[in-house]
Symmetry: C2
Subunit: 245 residues, 2 copies
């Protein structure tokens, strides 16, 4: 048996998310597993680096699977890209050490959130960005972002977290803008459920002056979801990269 | 009465094209005229710089219309962008000389055609590029493109042309590639029906070595549509800019 590592790009617009849930065919995981199982003529299960929610995109999602060595990586690559729908692409596939695990071995993840802060629509990025018409103070958002960097208990920045350990290490947050597009890049060792989207919602409310910068420390202290901002839509979110040792 | 010049951006995926044809509601022109007529409470007709076909996009299409001075440009801009669908945006509106005519006064048009020349899908540009899997010689395409530059009779590069004058002046053609994306930029004083798409189809067939570079001169001489390459799909085409005096 070989262990194959895939790099996958997808437009999440038409999916319920990465993860296959029972009989749900509208997941990216299901689409890939179905093609692989067709190729191997037996059930192939793939392990993703983590789930992405409905509407969330990926430039480079990572997944691995175990299978016999009947097919070359070149053949698997071509077969997958021939049969996958046009909104999912496998951009790389390679044989890795048998111990490699897409989820357990993650060192860092890089997410990007795009906010279109204009009066007219972002015609070509309307499905990959969140349209926010209110004027935002990017300076305030940048100041608040600094307070999020580092090891903190992000319980208040997550929904329904069943995880015992809610401490995460945010390595960096960069906020930039090109014209009306505001781009928030977040790098961390891991993220709780909805954590990136709640962080962005909180930064937006700070940028609107609906919330004060002090709220960040308050959420860390209270751990109460309601103290944080709203959960921004999934369509503005993209998993850019996953780093391993 | 004032003469208003609008700069319009649109994703043509869901439209039959720019031009309103009788009762066809699936045209970009119709969508804009309907919102403007609602604002002014009388029929407003807009004049585009030229039609774009079904599926063709625009970064900066230009259109003008005449109306009374009841509304400021700021108000018209906000009203249009509030009521237009998300795949159409008015990015600028200004008052111009009463003699300005979007079609008659065109000096130069810049079109861009995107070819995705990869094995896997271009996930995020699949609706704005044409997926071509065969390997292409960009060098040959560049060489052929040089022969197209200048004043020539482009009759053979058009379909059903009713125009008496089929001579057009192509100012420049630039072919570049970033990874698997091949971008063809064409600048000219005007284009016949389907001319850009047939030029690109001909360049592709030359890049595939299905046609020889000499075919360009042959098409100029014969004026026969069948001597040229196929008409590539509209979705890869985008009107980038229209220049006026």
């Amino acid at each position: 048996m070989q262990n194959y590592k895939m790099t996958i790009s997808y437009d999440g617009t038409n999916y319920r998310g990465w993860q296959r849930l029972k009989d749900d065919v509208k997941s990216i995981q299901f689409k890939i597993e179905r093609v692989l199982s067709e190729l191997y003529q037996y059930d192939i299960k793939i392990i993703g680096s983590g789930r992405t929610d409905a509407g969330v995109h990926a430039m480079s999602q990572i997944a691995n699977f175990h299978a016999d060595s009947t097919h070359t990586t070149e053949d698997i690559y071509k077969y997958l890209n021939h049969y996958l729908p046009e909104d999912i692409a496998v951009i790389n596939i390679e044989i890795v050490d048998e111990k490699f695990h897409s989820r357990f071995n993650v060192l860092e993840k890089h997410y990007e959130y795009k906010i279109w802060n204009g009066i007219h629509s972002s015609v070509f990025e309307r499905k990959t960005s969140y349209w926010m018409k209110d004027s935002l103070s990017i300076d305030k958002m940048k100041e608040a972002a600094k307070l999020l960097i580092g090891k903190h208990d992000f319980l208040g920045f997550s929904t329904k977290s069943k995880k015992k350990n809610t401490i995460r290490d945010i390595k960096n947050i960069k906020i930039s803008n090109e014209g009306s597009m505001i781009i928030i890049d977040i790098y961390g060792d891991g993220f709780l459920y909805n954590m990136v989207r709640i962080i962005v919602g909180t930064l937006i409310e700070i940028g609107q002056s609906k919330k004060d910068i002090d709220v960040i420390q308050q959420i860390f202290t209270s751990g109460i979801r309601e103290d944080a901002g709203y959960t921004v839509p999934g369509k503005g979110l993209c998993l850019v990269n996953v780093t391993y040792n």
